[in-house]
């Protein structure tokens, strides 16, 4: 290998890397440019008309928010609780190995399989029907590993001395966790929760089978109602709508709102993490 070939190889690797960056940039640019022209106050605040060909997407936004709130209400306590157990209580026993295996498995289950599972268990077996409740529970199962992994990481980042000091003063284990661990790992847990929300908000396949209604120009009254949701709305408008070719602006608008929601959440998570990293330094 001589110097010129070395330089050529380096150059081509740099080119490939920046080609990927360009592709990502172009995707964002395309959605933002075309979506921005569709955005106005009416679009986000009005009910859809003519099966979504005109009007707004207000019920889909509300539906997605309901689903996200439901998902977090279920998965956050379970996820954080599980993470605390794994990081503070569990030893290297068989139970621990089993839980870790389960988390890895859950993280790899395809989203459509979560949809089938939710359909079989929550919609049919539990009798919730196609509803916010069934959809939220399904999404909660799906984001559980994300939340556990992020929370456990932030718990482990708290120095061991904090634990020892508290226990040496006679605190019980739970007192130690409550006063000396949780306050310092909160930021990491919030980050995990937000990442989970982002994933739940953008998923289509699980809600397709458990909650989503395409055209429901009214707001849900209870957790047993169906809702519209942004990702499903986009899917239907783009592929199933009889006027799909003529309502590209409605599709781009919906895509942009969904993208802003999900990327906004990721950005928020990153900001919170850097803020707290600066605040707690040991």
């Amino acid at each position: 290998m001589n110097n010129t070939t070395d330089k050529l190889i380096l150059l081509s690797m740099r080119l490939i890397t920046y080609a990927i960056v360009l592709v990502i940039g172009y995707i964002l640019f395309d959605i933002i440019r075309n979506g921005a022209s569709a955005l106005n106050w009416q679009f986000v605040s009005a009910f859809p008309r003519r099966s979504g060909a005109s009007g707004g997407i207000f019920p889909a936004i509300v539906g997605t928010l309901y689903l996200v709130v439901g998902t977090i209400a279920v998965s956050l306590p379970l996820g954080i609780g599980g993470a605390i157990y794994l990081s503070e209580y569990a030893d290297q026993g068989r139970f621990n190995t089993m839980i870790r295996l389960a988390i890895i498995t859950l993280a790899g289950v395809p989203s459509i399989v979560f949809g089938l599972f939710g359909l079989g268990l929550f919609v049919l077996f539990c009798g919730f029907g196609s509803s916010i409740l069934a959809g939220s529970l399904t999404l909660a199962c799906m984001v559980l590993p994300t939340i556990i992994v992020a929370s456990e990481e932030s718990l482990r980042a708290v120095p061991k001395g904090f634990r020892d000091a508290s226990l040496a003063l006679g605190a019980t284990k739970w007192e130690m966790i409550r006063t000396n661990i949780l306050p310092y790992s909160m930021s990491g847990m919030i980050t995990g929760a937000i990442l989970g929300i982002g994933r739940a908000a953008g998923e289509t396949a699980p809600i397709l089978l458990t909650v989503a209604a395409f055209y429901l120009p009214r707001l849900p009254k209870s957790v047993f109602d169906q809702v519209m949701a942004l990702p499903y709305h986009l899917y239907i408008l783009a592929t199933q709508h009889p006027e799909a070719e003529r309502i590209r602006h409605m599709q781009y608008g919906t895509a942009l709102i969904l993208l802003l929601l999900v990327l906004g959440l990721s950005l928020g998570a990153i900001l919170i993490r850097t803020h707290f990293r600066k605040k707690f330094r040991w």
């Binding site: 070395d6 289950v109 089938l116 359909l119």
Partner: protein, 295 residues
């Protein structure tokens, strides 16, 4: 009750509560397997498991329904193989660039920027594919439609790229400095060290990354549903329209009567997907563990 007694009881109670929370994951995994089996099960007795080996997938018909999984398996395999063909070389090269060559400030920009790709919802990528990538493929190859296996593969590769880059980079960074330094000290160039020492040493981690990437690609639903054209035919041409296992479930589940044979067949597809991704996951973890690359 004394204060210390109260504290003692709270402590024990919290321990149990947290243990319960941790067990949910195990419970959910068991329930997933259980309910997929439960819904798919009756198919084995009637019409019999042999029906899944049929060569055609025609679940709704006036004459005879066919529930052969072959065309769907081949659809998934074709799209996944094409996607990996594109993804693996690109991802590994980019991972090497980020881990070994990029300046620190460049790295600080590249890593989060590529992560953005992972957080774009798959339905949005599918939409982009439908409106931008499919027309490109159509004109480039002079086809009557741009909805092909190749279109799906390109989009899937966009989804797998961030996963594989990030995991491969972890593997590259975890190679001990002593190895790299020894190679440099023997007079090898920077690139020789990367390709002859660092890359081989990180190979198990990269293999595991690729396996996890395959798992993600094979289970991806919305993007392939939107851009592969969805005709259930047995083909190995990248420019043909195909239908994957995931897309079949998503497209047909809305219209089947619950409990029907068709419904059970769709659960069979789900079960097969679950087993494939489960196996890929377990093997990848084994590889990581064996070579001490577990985080």
């Amino acid at each position: 009750m004394s204060r210390s007694r109260k504290l003692f009881i709270t402590d024990k109670l919290m321990r149990l509560l947290l243990m319960g929370a941790a067990s949910t994951s195990v419970l959910v995994v068991c329930l997933i397997f259980l309910f997929l089996f439960k819904e798919a099960g009756p198919f084995v007795l009637n019409p019999g498991i042999g029906k899944l080996l049929d060569s055609q997938w025609i679940p709704v018909s006036f004459q005879e329904e066919h529930f052969g999984l072959g065309p769907l398996l081949s659809g998934s395999a074709l799209v996944t193989a094409l996607a990996m063909l594109v993804t693996v070389p690109i991802s590994v090269l980019v991972a090497i660039y980020i881990a070994e060559i990029a300046r620190p400030d460049e790295r600080e920009f590249l890593k989060p920027f590529i992560e953005i790709l992972a957080s774009i919802p798959s339905v949005v990528l599918g939409f982009f594919g439908l409106l931008v990538v499919a027309p490109l493929i159509k004109t480039a190859f002079g086809l009557s439609t741009g909805l092909t296996a190749l279109t799906g593969a390109l989009l899937l590769s966009l989804m797998a790229i961030p996963t594989i880059i990030s995991l491969s980079e972890d593997a590259l960074v975890s190679v001990p400095y002593s190895l790299k330094n020894a190679s440099l000290a023997l007079g090898a160039s920077h690139l020789q060290t990367i390709f002859l020492v660092t890359l081989p040493a990180a190979l198990p981690g990269i293999v595991a990354a690729v396996m996890l990437g395959i798992g993600r690609v094979i289970g991806e639903t919305m993007a392939v549903l939107m851009v592969t054209g969805n005709s259930a035919i047995l083909t190995f041409s990248p420019l043909a329209s195909v239908r994957t296992m995931t897309a079949t479930i998503a497209a047909e589940m809305g219209e089947v009567p619950f409990g029907s044979v068709h419904y059970q067949a769709l659960f069979w597809i789900g079960l097969i997907l679950l087993v494939i991704t489960f196996a890929l996951n377990i093997v990848a973890q084994r590889v990581l563990k064996k070579y001490g690359m577990m985080k």
